[in-house]
Symmetry: C2
Subunit: 184 residues, 2 copies
DNA sequence: GATTGATTAGTCAATCTTGACTATAATGGA
DNA sequence: TCCATTATAGTCAAGATTGACTAATCAATC
């Protein structure tokens, strides 16, 4: 079975990841993913959960386990990962380990289109970016550090730091240039 | 006017970016974006171009300039950015400069779900990742270096290098551990 | 002048994604 | 006891995205 977009890959991967541990119903998945720690890393909308479950079921990667109800609560459909699902999941995981994402960042467009804003705006904008990056880093430092999360956090921190370094040096270049031009 | 997904933001931004320079028709945009250098950074599918143009037109950010034909070729609808479109464009650019993307990477899931693959697979997978990252870096080094592209390339290179460093150190940790365990 | 292949300009059905909304049940407080 | 609030479990219409496909023209070759 083929996958479409990058979004789709990650969404399926997340659902399969949760189901690989134990059978779950849609709403439970929704609640698990709503947890602050997870939502931050893997944001998925409510609708997508059910949509993806449906697709996975159609592909035989997941199957309806039971339709049960607790007390007079609404019915809920529990899903269980199949053998095929487990194999697919592990295959997706291998790809996730090896493939380097080609995320098209809007910041890159900003750089390419630099001349479309007043050059005088750029230092302020970069300063805001620096602030955002610092904020992100401090968030990461306070992040929960259970063992598996730790690697994620550290990887993310390393990349964000590199971004910060780059951005700061760009900003400094501008400030120096600005200083020399106006001081002479 | 509000924007939905991150995908949507970048797609609109790209189209507005191209239109900010001169009026274009859909197919021309398609060809411009099909160029290797651009496709690499900002991949957009054919269908999305026309879809986004339609949305932008409905929002008054873009207007149909002329429907012309060259010789007996099919008609083509040319679009021109409006004043509102220019303002929106510049606003999106400011956001692109300042906002730090929260891209949900599947590699992070791979790290979180590390125990779902055999630990013995991990070194090979990391080695492949290292190779992919090296490849990406050498691609970036050969990349076209017109002035606006340069900043993009350097930023990307800095982040990819940080990723490489992180991944290599992770791999080395594993190799050392493997060596000591099996050598004693 | 016929055939083949590339180019042009875009369409559209299938699929995916979003998030506001529904309908019921349990809970807490006055 | 009654009412408001929150929790449960999901639906669905509206919008976004994909990419294979169409239908015509032009260019080159046989």
């Amino acid at each position: 079975m083929e996958l479409g977009t990058a979004t789709q890959l990650i969404t399926r991967l997340i659902i399969l990841w949760l189901l690989s541990e134990r059978p779950l119903h849609g709403y439970r998945i929704k609640r698990i993913l709503a947890d602050v720690a997870l939502r931050h890393w893997f944001p998925i909308e409510t609708g997508s959960i059910y949509s993806v479950l449906k697709t996975l079921a159609a592909a035989g990667l997941v199957e309806t386990e039971i339709v049960e109800r607790e007390g007079q609560r609404p019915e809920r459909t529990q899903f269980r990962i199949t053998q095929a699902g487990r194999e697919h999941y592990r295959e997706l995981l291998r790809r996730a380990w090896t493939e380097v994402g080609r995320s098209s960042e809007s910041f890159h467009l900003a750089l390419a289109a630099r001349s479309d804003l007043d050059e005088s705006e750029i230092p302020e904008l970069l300063a805001i970016r620096v602030k955002s990056l610092r904020q992100r880093i401090s968030e990461l430092e306070m992040a929960s550090n259970s063992a598996p999360a730790l690697a994620m956090v550290e990887h993310s921190r390393a990349l964000t730091l590199a971004d910060l370094t780059w951005t700061e040096s760009e900003l400094e270049k501008l400030n120096n240039r600005g200083a020399t031009t106006s001081d002479i």
